[in-house]
């Protein structure tokens, strides 16, 4: 029979996930095909039902669009105030996330999950707000239209001709705990539209009228239904996996999507997301930056970064790699991560270079074992023209150089011409042409591509003018020379290009080396740092050289609160404590250039170390620097990581030092206490013994002498008990007492306490009233006997002879056993029930009874060390009662007690 037990690792993962889910708030999405199907209405109805069941429901934000039926549902529900945010010259009403977090209802309604917040809000998107609400344990109801789903966005755009820019990443939708489809047939929707029940903004009426065509509505409804069905399907698979109905088919094959610098990368990412979702496999998106791609314009590089970020939001692993050969890098990455399917964008058909093989073909040729999926890019011809324009823009960029360079390369040409003039008679013209080529190479080496290209043209012109007959004219006598010019120009241009590229690569390499050296130097410095201030200083230095930024480090304390930035000589930027705390709490970057509070001038990077997040690194980027370029990002990540690890190391150095000091002081205290106790007790022991032995002296002592000896003995014993009390108190207070807890019946220790106190209680009647079925308790027998002895002694001291003292016990609430010592004496002075447990506090100050008032304080300390409580009260009738409780715990069983006996006959 086949073993169909579930994989334990999977179950563990699922339990972890469920635990995480339990702590997190739940998200329920009301999902619809288009506006007007009644999502908000459905959400409010569900919320009302929850309210009736007693759930604490609050409305965070709801768009009723003036619909009467919907508004009617709002009555009676608590609404959070909206936050007025000024944007440009208008004031917009936005969802107030801080108010929601402060109010912390059980269930919050947040309409329109796809909404984009006004710039300057904490998060750019409302779904990010909702994630934060969930992570602080608030359940959320929200609504989404199908066209707002990230992966379906372009499909819907294709169908309806209207692209919406407010989107929700699919992983948010997929991670929602529940999705309810709110469905309405297109005809009914159109009917509602006709009746004016659907809100249409005035200004966009025409466009929306186009949108609400029946064909569109049917298509949208199909999309919504299908997406819901996909979700239900994956729920079903999950259920089957849970119940282990059958082993669900699972593959380790994952997807790798490669994006290039083009505008089509967004489309590739979305396609990859859809394919990955359908196959239910993890996916990766990578961008390989070759030296060639470094020439690209800023705008294009940012575009690529945006696509990578999109992929990350959609739940993929992303990486930006650098390598000289894009294809080899891609294949290496795929092999390393065991990715068997590679998605690439389809190349543009290049009719003028029919021999050029497509990217996909080249990947396929080098790695025949990988599946290659080609997907369409979204570029329309218009886009492509724009792309070409931007490429040529970047070409122009590359040609650009300071005018001095152009002047110098012209001077080069002039010089070559001057030198060649006299040689003209000696050398052949071909060799003269060589001299001109050299000038081009020199220009390229010295001044870059632009001046070299200029030199190439100038040289051809100079050669023609000065050396080609007829001389001193641009006219050419022999047609042969046209060929010479063409080759000369071509060779000049190619050489210029190659030389300039080489120079550029050398510069890139040296810059990379510089970065590596800076990192190396920083890590070397960090490894020598012993205090956090040194680390702050080192990171300040590195941030200045590596990023041209000012840096500050904020450390977190044990309670996860951030402190002020560590002061360093260069001064620190003024940080926003709120943002840094947010970045720390969420362990995510915030501020400049991130999703969260992008308006801030500073970037807040959490310092994640292996054990915990140590603090926040704050960077103030100088405006000219691009902190977001991939290589800079990588550098920043490494930087933050190194700083975090160093901080952790420094922290543990401190911990180790503190522990050593603590151990040393504990050792000292213990040896001091035991020395004192030995030194005090030894003379007392001698005193007691010698007093006793007086009666044995020869000649035998008189009766009076015997009395004196007995009194001496008594006083010495009293002294001894005082010393015991003081030392015990010192020990208990210093925390130097190690409990020797064992499971044992209470009656045993009660018996031994009564036996120990027999002489003290000689004049009293003692009763014991323990229920037969008391469970075993875990306690330190010696210490609890001490508690009972002190209580008995107390009772014996403060009650007249002949009184009754009783020890009793009974189970009390909350898994505790109450144990009491009660008497029928005069009782406690009113209002002093608590005070008597204080040190050096005595019931009646004026009385002649001995003692310093430590007995009860010791009792309290011992009981507290056991996790229990002690209190005193007056009994209803007469007398006092001292009650202490001990926790029950889980007593061990006696199962093995009779079983494992060695073989022997039983008694008859």
């Amino acid at each position: 029979m086949k073993d169909i037990r579930p994989d334990p690792d999977l179950i563990l993962d699922r339990i972890k996930e469920e635990e995480m889910r339990a702590a997190r708030g739940k998200l329920k999405i009301f999902f619809g095909a288009s506006a007007g199907v009644g999502k908000t209405y459905a959400m409010l109805s569900a919320a009302r039902q929850q309210t009736e069941q007693g759930t604490d429901v609050v409305i965070g934000v709801v768009e009723t669009h003036g619909r009467k039926e919907t508004e009617a549902l709002l009555t009676g529900l608590e609404r959070l105030p909206l936050k007025a945010v000024a944007y440009r010259d208008r004031v917009l009403q936005e969802f107030h996330i801080d108010a929601a977090l402060a109010r912390k209802p059980a269930l919050l309604l947040v309409d329109e999950l796809a909404h984009s917040n006004v710039p300057g809000s904490r998060h750019a998107k409302r779904w990010q707000d909702v994630e934060e609400l969930q992570s602080s344990g608030i359940d959320v109801y929200s609504t989404v239209n199908v066209q707002h789903l990230e992966t379906l966005n372009d499909v819907v755009g294709g169908i309806t001709g209207i692209r919406v820019w407010e989107t929700v990443p699919d992983h948010v939708f997929d991670a929602a705990d529940e999705v309810v489809l709110v469905d309405l047939t297109p005809d009914e929707l159109l009917q509602r539209l006709k009746e004016g029940k659907v809100y249409l903004p005035q200004q966009a009426e025409r466009a929306i009228q186009n949108f609400f065509r029946k064909g569109n509505l049917i298509a949208l409804r199909e999309l919504a239904l299908r997406r819901t069905a996909d979700r239900v399907d994956s729920e079903m698979i999950q259920y089957r996996r849970d119940k282990s109905v059958t082993r669900a088919w699972q593959t380790s094959e994952s997807l790798l999507a490669c994006i290039g610098p083009g505008d089509g990368s967004g489309r590739i990412v979305r396609s990859a997301a859809r394919i990955a979702a359908r196959l239910d496999v993890p996916w990766h998106v990578i961008y390989v930056e070759t030296p060639k791609l470094r020439h690209l314009s800023e705008k294009r590089r940012l575009q690529t970064l945006k696509s990578l970020k999109l992929a990350q939001e959609m739940g993929s692993e992303t990486a930006s790699l650098s390598g000289s050969d894009a294809i080899a890098t891609i294949i290496d990455y795929a092999r390393d991560h065991n990715l068997s399917k590679v998605i690439v964008g389809r190349d543009h058909a290049q009719s003028w270079r029919p021999w050029k093989r497509s990217f996909a073909d080249r990947v396929g040729k080098l790695a025949p074992d990988l599946d290659i999926i080609q997907v369409a890019r979204e570029d329309t011809p218009a886009d492509r023209r724009q792309e070409e324009k931007s490429t040529s823009e970047s070409l122009l960029d590359r040609l650009r150089a300071p005018w001095q360079s152009f002047a110098m390369s012209s001077v080069f040409c002039a010089l070559v011409t001057l030198i060649a003039m006299p040689l003209h008679t000696v050398f052949d013209r071909a060799n003269i042409a060589m001299l001109f080529l050299m000038a081009v190479v020199l220009s390229a080496v010295r001044y870059g591509l632009g001046p070299a290209v200029a030199a190439a043209f100038l040289n051809v012109a100079a050669f023609d003018f000065f050396f080609v007959p007829p001389r001193f004219s641009f006219a050419v006598g022999d047609v042969q020379y046209l060929m010479t010019f063409a080759v000369m120009l071509a060779v000049g241009l190619v050489t210029a290009k190659l030389t300039a590229d080489l120079k550029f690569q050398a510069r890139v390499a040296s810059r990379r080396e510089q970065r590596v050296r800076a990192l190396y130097e920083m890590s070397r410095d960090l490894s020598g740092a012993l205090i956090a201030e040194q680390i702050a200083e080192i990171s300040q230095r590195f941030a200045a050289t590596g990023f041209g930024a000012r840096a500050a480090i904020m450390l977190a304390d044990e309670r996860d609160r951030l402190h002020e930035p560590i002061q360093v000589p260069g001064g620190v930027p003024t940080v926003d404590v709120g943002i840094s705390q947010w970045a720390f709490d969420h362990c995510a970057e915030a501020g400049w250039g991130t999703d969260t509070l992008a308006g801030s001038p500073l970037l807040y990077v959490p310092l994640k170390a292996p054990m915990r997040t140590r603090g926040v690194l704050v960077l103030e980027p100088s405006p000219s620097r691009r902190l977001m370029a991939p290589e800079q990002r990588r550098l920043l990540d490494t930087f933050a990581r190194l700083v975090a690890i160093s901080l952790e190391r420094v922290h543990y150095v401190d911990v180790a030092r503190a522990t050593t000091v603590q151990m040393e002081s504990e050792r000292l205290r213990n040896s001091l206490l035991s020395a004192i106790s030995h030194d005090l007790r030894t003379p007392l022991a001698a005193l007691v013994g010698l007093a006793d032995s007086m009666s044995m002296t020869q000649p035998p002592p008189t009766g009076q002498q015997c009395d004196i000896a007995a009194s001496m003995r008594e006083e010495a014993l009293r002294m001894n008990s005082l010393v015991n009390n003081l030392l015990d108190m010192a020990r208990l207070q210093a925390g130097a007492v190690k409990l020797n807890r064992q499971w044992q019946p209470l009656e045993e220790v009660v018996g031994s306490a009564i036996k120990a106190m027999r002489s003290t209680m000689a004049g009293h009647r003692v009763g014991v009233n323990l229920p037969a079925e008391l469970p075993l308790l875990e306690f330190d027998a010696v210490l609890v006997e001490r508690v009972l002895c002190n209580l008995l002694e107390n009772a014996a001291t403060y009650t007249p002879p002949g009184s009754t003292i009783e020890i009793g016990a009974a189970p009390a609430a909350r898994d505790q056993i109450d144990i009491w010592v009660e008497d029928d004496g005069p009782g406690l002075p009113a209002g002093k029930e608590e005070l008597i447990f204080n040190k050096f506090e005595r019931g009646r100050k004026e009385s002649a009874t001995s003692g310093v008032g430590l007995g009860l304080a010791i009792c309290r300390a011992i009981v507290a060390a056991h996790g229990g409580t002690i209190r005193a009260e007056n009994r209803h009738g007469r007398g006092a009662r001292f009650v202490f409780s001990l926790p029950c715990g889980n007593p061990p069983s006696l199962d093995g007690a009779e079983k494992d006996l060695p073989e022997e006959e039983s008694p008859k």
């Binding site: 007790r681 010698l690 044992q744 036996k755 010696v782 039983s906």
Partner: protein, 231 residues
Amino acid sequence: MSEPRPAVLVIEDEPNIRRFIRMSLEAEGCQVYETDSMQRGLIAAGTRRPDMVVLDLGLPDGDGVDFIRDLRAWSDIPIIVLSARTTEADKVGALDSGADDYLTKPFGAAELLARVRAQLRRRSSASASGSAVLEFGRMRVDLGKRLVERAGEPLHLTPIEYRLLAFLITHPDSVLTHRQLLKAVWGPSHADDSHYIRVYMGLLRKKIEEDPSQPRHIITEAGVGYRFVAA
């Protein structure tokens, strides 16, 4: 013919306490040898051949437990240890390695003499006794026939209770640690299940004691173990 005076070796570094012990024991009619260190104590134990040793655990030149182990290697004379109050672990260690009883400082002459007498009596009775029948209070235990009677009536004990009782009454007046009892009754593999012993001791007390909460025969030595007293 008069009985020979029992010889007691006292090992204690504090001269005043030593003096008091000597006076008390001599008044009782013992021959007392004194030493003030472990080393001399071992030599004296070998040369004087005492009938009993009174040993202070807090000696400056060594661990009392080592002394007991060395002595137990060749002799089974009773050992009473003297110790400070807060060091239960030391007492248990000394008892586990073979000491018979302990006294907590400060103690009086009466307590000391009671313990010494009990140990000497046990020693003489152990050498003399051949009878397997023991009586205490209203109880009668016949170890040969494995019979237990209370006030003349047969008393049913479970196998464990019987083994426990038999071990206790054959080691009267000595302090038995939890570990020693567990080893004797349950075997060495259960030496750490000390709650067994406490529970069965409770059950046994209910059967043989008049008032189990204030026992007369099976005395609890808190944090250390139990002592069986016949009287």
